[in-house]
């Protein structure tokens, strides 16, 4: 079921010659219950994009549909009502510094005049969820960054939203804290089947918790799909760029691999450079060794990664096969038949 639908979203700042386009004709669909990541460099328009979903930023053109309602057509009060169903957390947490942790979480409930005992129950439930039940009387200034973001999450979830928007929610946090916040988001997604939209410039955030990803560049989406697909077979240069920065591998190493591939071979021995992608439990199976034993081909691993995408194991190896050229071709087709993705590089 579609929960969020952005249609022909365009946002321009300023008028005439001085105007800059942050988003142009952007379309995006997000299904209920999924964690959808949008990745892009700063200035790519990702922040504008997420702020358009609850109309903190009003698009110049286009429609924003959330849960079957076109938000762009609503009156001010109707929009306020709809916003209560869209939680949001921020890079800099944006907590009320003058209010305690308890009162911050109670804030969205007080806005709709919830009875006091109901507020108390909900706030305690939320603080338990994020693990801050012992900090309810502290002020934000007394908390660490990770704790502040937990308060932000508790506050965003207190009004039982259908969707949680995360605007660079982990960008101000250290790697360890980032992982604990990501884990919390994943738990919440699983526990409440809550749809989460997050924007980030860090590939590992996408890799850790997202089901789907969109890569945004110069105000448009250049690539989107399930994270496993985009991750293992990046099509666009920008996507590859993100992968490389995060793996310290990618293109640069692949190039070295290609250069090394030209080692002198004995006459009559063919060679082929291939990239093999594994996904799921196949990653841990001995498919490669089984196959080459059968076909009698030798191989050298030039580069490789074995890791997980949202707890799904994957592997990617750049391998040079050596041997009889017919046997190499047979090896490739056998591997493909085993369900691996094999791409011949050279």
């Amino acid at each position: 079921m579609r929960l969020i639908e952005l249609k022909g979203l365009t946002k321009t700042y300023g008028k005439g010659k001085k105007s800059t386009t942050a988003l142009s004709e952007l379309n995006l669909n997000i299904q209920k219950g999924e964690i959808y990541g949008v990745i892009g460099h700063s200035g790519a328009g990702k922040s504008t994009l997420i702020r358009c979903i609850n109309l903190l930023e009003r698009p110049t053109e286009g429609e924003v549909w959330v849960d079957g309602i076109n938000l762009t057509e609503l009156s001010k009060t109707e929009l306020q009502q709809q916003r209560r169903k869209i939680g949001m957390i921020f890079q800099h947490f944006n907590l009320l510094s003058s209010a305690t942790v308890y009162d911050n979480v109670a804030f969205p409930l007080k806005l709709v005049n919830t009875p006091k005992d109901a507020i108390d129950r909900k706030v305690k439930e939320m603080l338990n969820l994020v693990g801050l039940e012992n900090h309810s009387n502290k002020y934000p200034a007394q908390l660490s960054g990770g704790q502040k973001q937990r308060v932000g999450i508790a506050r965003a979830l207190a009004s039982d939203p259908n969707v949680l928007l995360c605007d660079e929610a982990t960008s101000a946090l250290d790697p360890q804290t980032t992982n604990s916040i990501l884990k919390l988001l994943l738990d919440i997604n699983e526990k409440y089947n809550l749809t989460i939209v997050l924007i980030t410039h860090e590939m590992h955030v996408i890799q850790n918790i997202c089901d789907k990803v969109a890569v945004i560049h110069q105000g448009g989406i250049v690539e989107q799909g399930p994270v496993t697909e985009v991750f293992l077979k990046p099509q666009h240069a920008i996507t590859r760029d993100f992968m490389m920065r995060d793996h310290e591998a990618g293109l640069a190493l692949e190039e070295t691999a290609l250069a090394n591939a030209g080692v002198e071979l004995q006459t009559g021995v063919a060679s082929k450079l291939v990239k093999i992608s594994f996904l799921g439990n196949k990653t841990y199976e001995a498919i490669l060794s089984r196959t080459v034993r059968k076909t009698g081909v030798d191989f050298a691993i030039l580069q490789g990664t074995i890791s997980t995408i949202k707890q799904v194991p994957y592997g990617q190896l750049t391998v040079r096969f050596e041997g009889d050229s017919y046997a190499i071709d047979r090896t490739i087709s056998e591997l493909t038949a085993e369900g691996l993705d094999v791409e011949v590089l050279r």
């Binding site: 306020q80 709809q82 209560r84 944006n94 003058s98 804030f107 806005l111």
Partner: protein
């Protein structure tokens, strides 16, 4: 210098009058200046042309009132003061010009203080569906409270020196005492006592204000 001729009951009476003037005019300054300041802040950052026009007009009025010297303002407002409180002299007569002069000043202080409130927090409230009124009451004012208290302190301290000027036109209080006895009759003792009293008063006000600001600061 001979302090034995000083009529202490006059000094006492004047001190009480000053406190009355400060209390009442301070109260009305906040009552008028706070909403005015909020309005200035809200209309200045609004995108709508209507609000911007409101801002331009309000801003102009505030600037005019702030540029007229207080001593001139008192005289100019005499007819208005008579209509409003029935007299243009004494404790009662000095309060309207004080409020009219101090409220725009305080409003500007409020406006600048509100600008210091983290935009992100306002945005967070918007994202939670808060209305404009709720944002003012539940976000802006509580977040700006320490700054607002500092602004109130500054305003009341300014009012102390204004009450002295009001003494020129018989406004009552320590200022009148200083001018009538100390200045016109060359009674230096009275002058010193009045000025000293005002110095002590300002010290106490500033200290109390600072204490309150510290008490409410959560950052």
């Amino acid at each position: 210098m001979d302090f034995s001729t000083v009529r202490w009951e006059e000094v006492g009476k004047a001190s009480i009058e000053t406190l009355q003037i400060l209390g009442v005019s301070g109260l009305f300054t906040v009552i008028l200046g706070l909403p005015l300041g909020v309005l200035l802040f809200m209309t200045a950052r609004s995108a709508s042309i209507k609000s911007r026009t409101v801002y331009t007009i309000l801003s102009l009025v505030v600037n005019i009132l702030r540029s007229v010297p207080f001593i001139i303002l008192i005289v100019a407002l005499i007819p208005f003061t008579r209509i409003l409180v029935g007299t243009a002299t004494g404790v009662l007569g000095v309060i309207p010009p004080l409020v009219i002069s101090a409220a725009p000043y305080f409003a500007r202080l409020v406006e600048t203080t509100l600008r210091e409130v983290d935009r992100g927090v306002i945005e967070a409230a918007q994202s939670m569906g808060a209305s404009t009124g709720q944002i003012v009451r539940r976000v802006l004012l509580p977040e700006a409270l320490p700054g607002l208290l500092a602004g109130i302190t500054i305003t009341i301290v300014t009012l102390v020196s204004y009450t002295a000027m009001a003494g020129m036109v018989g406004g009552g209080g320590l200022g009148t005492l200083a001018i009538n006895y100390g200045y016109f009759r060359y009674q230096n003792e009275i002058m010193i006592i009045s000025v000293m009293s005002m110095i002590i008063l300002v010290q106490i006000l500033q200290m109390a204000g600072d204490r309150l600001v510290t008490f409410f600061t959560r950052k």
